[in-house]
């Protein structure tokens, strides 16, 4: 058995939420601002639609194959050869999530806290910790995430709602063009369509959850809630700093948190809280991508014991996470990965759903 794990419905939903809410504020806000100016937050609307669709597909697959993970039911639907090919591609997409996210996060940490430390060393510090969680499997990742969740939510509340008191100018968010604003969305599609990607957790873990038939709704709600926070992360810099100034910043959300100071806290700025919150989020997200990527790749290659291969996955993540890329190249890589996520996380699973239903009907 490749995947003998059992998660609760609540744990899977939490992972969907945390994976969705994680990286966008440090990657897409500046991109969206570049394309869409003050209406950047509208650019995330198509991403929400895709995210909800992904949840619906993954949730339906989980309900259709209860008690089994994706590595077990895909070969049943597609046959051994096509099934393995599918798992190979999906594994690569999932594994790529670890260095991709690490690459972004290491630069954020370097920018805000450790300016003299190379990103490679930052990646090398966090990956062993994450790898230790992966060694325990998804239950350990989920348990640790459950403990972290209240602190993450509290931190997000401070980051997103503290600026609202006093410094926000809502008028700055009003679209300059009239409804239906479709002209804004098209340029943003390539950059934002794959940003709401919590459905990947549902796709990999859904079948192994308790009551998988009741997962779809909570996962969609979690996605929608996370999307609100994403939209806030894009809208806040505009509302606080103005669209023009925000677009010039490398990390607009850090620009916003840099303006907030609580005199009663021992920290002068809440930038530190922002980084700590994202480090907690990154722990869950990296652990999920590393574990799921290694698991699915091992299943595709017929390797039964995936644990030793975590070392290889972790080494790849540290190496690629530390590779220096220019911002445009980095953006192209992220765009490419986004499309891969869409293809492997939504389009092909939807085909699986249709194919699985068709086979079931013909069997009947």
């Amino acid at each position: 058995m490749h995947a003998s794990f059992r998660l609760s419905r609540r744990q899977v939903t939490l992972l969907v939420f945390l994976i969705t809410v994680c990286v966008t504020p440090f990657t897409y806000d500046s991109v969206l601002l570049l394309y869409l100016d003050r209406q950047a937050w509208l650019g995330l609307v198509p991403a929400l639609a895709v995210g909800l669709l992904g949840c619906a597909v993954a949730g339906t697959l989980a309900a259709r194959f209860p008690g089994r993970s994706i590595v077990e039911y895909v070969p049943e639907i597609l046959g051994p050869v096509a099934g393995r090919a599918f798992l190979l591609l999906l594994g690569l997409v999932l594994l790529a999530g670890a260095p991709g996210n690490l690459h972004i996060f290491a630069r954020v940490v370097r920018f805000s806290e450790l300016p003299r430390t190379p990103p490679f060393w930052i990646a090398a510090l966090i990956v062993p910790i994450v790898g230790y969680a992966c060694y325990g499997g998804p239950e350990v990742i989920a348990r640790a995430s459950e403990v972290l969740a209240p602190f993450v939510l509290l931190g997000l509340a401070v980051i997103y709602f503290a600026p609202i008191v006093g410094t926000v100018v809502p008028a700055r968010l009003a679209p300059t063009h009239p409804f239906p604003w479709a002209s804004y969305w098209l340029p943003a599609v390539s950059s934002s369509l794959g940003t709401v990607r919590g459905f990947l957790a549902l796709l990999v873990l859904g079948g192994s959850a308790d009551e998988p038939e009741r997962l779809r709704g909570p996962a969609m709600i979690a996605t929608a809630c996370a999307w609100v926070l994403l939209a806030l992360s894009v809208a806040l810099p505009v509302a606080v700093l103005g669209a023009g100034f925000s677009a010039e910043l490398r990390y607009p959300i850090l620009g916003v948190t840099g303006t907030i100071s609580f005199r009663w806290l021992p920290f002068q700025r809440i930038t530190a809280i922002t980084i700590l919150v994202w480090q907690m989020l990154m722990y869950t997200v990296l652990a999920f991508y590393l574990w799921s990527g290694v698991l699915v790749l091992c299943a595709a290659l017929g390797i039964r014991n995936w644990r030793p291969w975590l070392l290889v996955g972790a080494a790849v993540a540290v190496y690629l996470g530390g590779v220096p890329l220019s911002p445009p190249t980095s953006r192209d890589v992220v765009d490419l990965w986004n499309f891969a996520v869409l293809a492997m996380g939504v389009v092909l699973p939807a085909s699986l759903l249709l194919l699985g239903g068709e086979r079931r009907r013909s069997a009947v």
Binding site: I126, Y132, A133, S145, E146, P266, M280
Partner: protein, 501 residues
């Protein structure tokens, strides 16, 4: 005297011949050879062999270990009745004694003597009478778990009185006591105490199997048993809860946990154990839910401070100085003026010194321990600051950390806190706040990975169980108001008013 010794030696030799000849079968010819055989097997000088003459037949021979038997009871309950029976010409007086066990082999005879029983040989039969009286301590107040408003009854080294103490608090017909003998030489008795209709049957089966599989010659404390059953040798985290308090043990059993009592160990072991047990206990007698919640939160914060404060100090002063408000940054700089080495070295050095003092204070006898703590806190601390070996702020940080580590209710867990602050501080020195949180995440991962007898260590926070978290970790209703047991231990029956067998 010399003649007696020679006679005894001859008898021993004769007994050894019997042993060899009969291959372990006890000689039953009415002579004391059986007793000498047992004594030869034990080879101890504190074994007494005597006899009571019976006019109607052969004498009744009596053997016992002088240091293990209550001699007043021996006279009252065995020797005097035997003499009276002998005067009334009863053929087999030993058969008239109550509560005797038949002894069939030399090995059994030796074992019975070693366990403090009195052997009687009469009319071709050997029987054992339980008059064991090993020295044991009276019930005293628990020394490591003191409760201001709780019970003062603690366990002692005597297994039977410990089981009795639990029975006195749980007079339930479904209370089960299973006794095992462990240790090839120590023959230590281990009691499993649980509620038969509540405890998780998988846990029970695992424990029974584990105890049956213990292969050792000597059991010194309960820790030897639990380490074999539930321990993971590479973790610093205690996976079984040791408690000196009878009310705590009885409460744990009532909640559906399994209690292990080991003869010679003055505390019980409750399994499973979760992190919540390190902050929950003796405040249950406090009035009002708010008080209980407050006390538990203070303990939780204390544990966090113990483990995180030194690392946070290092992180903020090495990599993230810009985070501090300017007045605080100036105060810190003034405090560190003259300290000749980096913050990380200063912190690690002080942490080692404070741990040395903690251990010295814990190991030293009462009066000296108090003197040591005064020397450590007042004199050495002040001297260190005056000599510019550490800043005054550093002293506050290590003091907070040390105090926090003693807020945990489970003494072994304080070692977890004390040990883990080192890697966290080290990571903070390497990576600032990023490294500090990395260290905390490493500890969290380690705790998330652990299971105590199949139950996740972070339960009920992870996996999240809302009802258990409310009722057994953050606060606690008085027992009459608790209609359900906290479900985190996978018990068979959660309803406290559930059906009885």
């Amino acid at each position: 005297m010399q003649d007696q010794i020679t006679a005894v030696r001859r008898a021993c030799d004769r007994a050894q011949a019997y042993i060899t000849q009969l291959e372990g079968q006890l000689p039953q010819d009415g002579e004391p050879a059986a007793l000498y055989a047992a004594r030869a097997r034990l080879g101890s000088d504190d074994i007494e062999i005597t006899h009571v003459d019976v006019p109607a037949g052969s004498p009744v021979w009596v053997a016992y270990v002088r240091t293990a038997v209550n001699r007043a009871r021996l006279y009252d309950e065995v020797l005097r009745p035997l003499q009276e029976l002998a005067r009334s010409s009863v053929a087999d007086p030993a058969a008239r004694l109550p509560l005797t066990t038949s002894v069939d082999s030399t090995a059994q005879a030796a074992q019975e003597l070693a366990e403090g029983r009195v052997l009687l040989v009469a009319a071709g039969r050997t029987v054992a009478v339980d008059l064991e009286d090993f020295p044991h301590r009276e019930v005293t107040e628990p020394s490591t778990e003191q409760a201001i408003l709780g019970s003062k009854q603690g366990f002692t080294e005597d297994l039977e009185s410990n089981v009795g103490a639990i029975r006195s608090r749980l007079r339930d017909p479904s209370l089960r006591v299973e006794i095992f003998t462990v240790g090839a030489r120590s023959h230590t008795q281990v009691a499993l105490v649980y509620l038969g209709d509540v405890v998780n049957p998988d846990l029970l089966a695992l424990t029974r199997k584990g105890i049956a599989g213990i292969e050792t010659d000597f059991i010194r404390t309960a820790q030897d048993v639990t380490a074999t059953l539930y321990g993971r040798t590479l973790t610093t985290v205690p996976l079984a809860e040791h408690t000196e308090r009878v009310d705590r043990a009885a409460g744990g059993i009532a909640a559906g946990r399994l209690c292990l009592l080991v003869n010679g160990t003055p505390f019980s072991v409750l399994v499973p154990m979760t992190f919540a047990e390190t902050i929950t206990d003796s405040e249950t007698a406090l009035p009002g839910l708010v008080n209980v919640t407050f006390v538990r939160l203070v303990r939780l914060i204390g544990e966090f401070l113990a483990i995180a404060t030194p690392g946070l100090y290092v992180a903020v002063l090495t990599a993230d100085t810009q985070l501090l408000p300017t007045p605080l940054a100036l105060a810190v700089a003034a405090s560190r003026a003259g300290v000749p080495y980096p913050v990380l070295t200063e912190t690690l050095g002080m942490l080692v010194i404070i741990d040395v003092f903690s251990e010295a204070t814990a190991q030293a006898p009462g009066g000296i321990g108090n003197a040591l703590s005064i020397v450590g806190t007042l004199i050495i601390g002040q001297m260190v600051v005056q000599a510019h070996l550490a800043s005054s702020l550093m002293m506050i940080v290590v003091a907070v950390s040390a105090l926090g580590s003693f807020l945990t209710l489970k003494f072994p867990f304080s070692y977890t806190l004390r040990i883990w602050k080192y890697p966290i501080t080290l990571l903070a020195g390497v990576g600032g706040l990023f490294g500090w949180l990395g260290g905390l995440l490493l500890l969290l991962t380690h705790l998330a990975l652990l299971k105590s007898a199949g139950v996740p260590y972070l339960s009920p926070a992870g996996p999240y169980r809302a009802r258990s978290l409310r009722s057994s970790m953050l606060t606690q209703l008085p027992h009459p108001l608790q209609t359900r047991r906290p479900g985190k231990w996978n018990q068979r029956q959660l309803d406290r008013a559930g059906p009885k067998p």
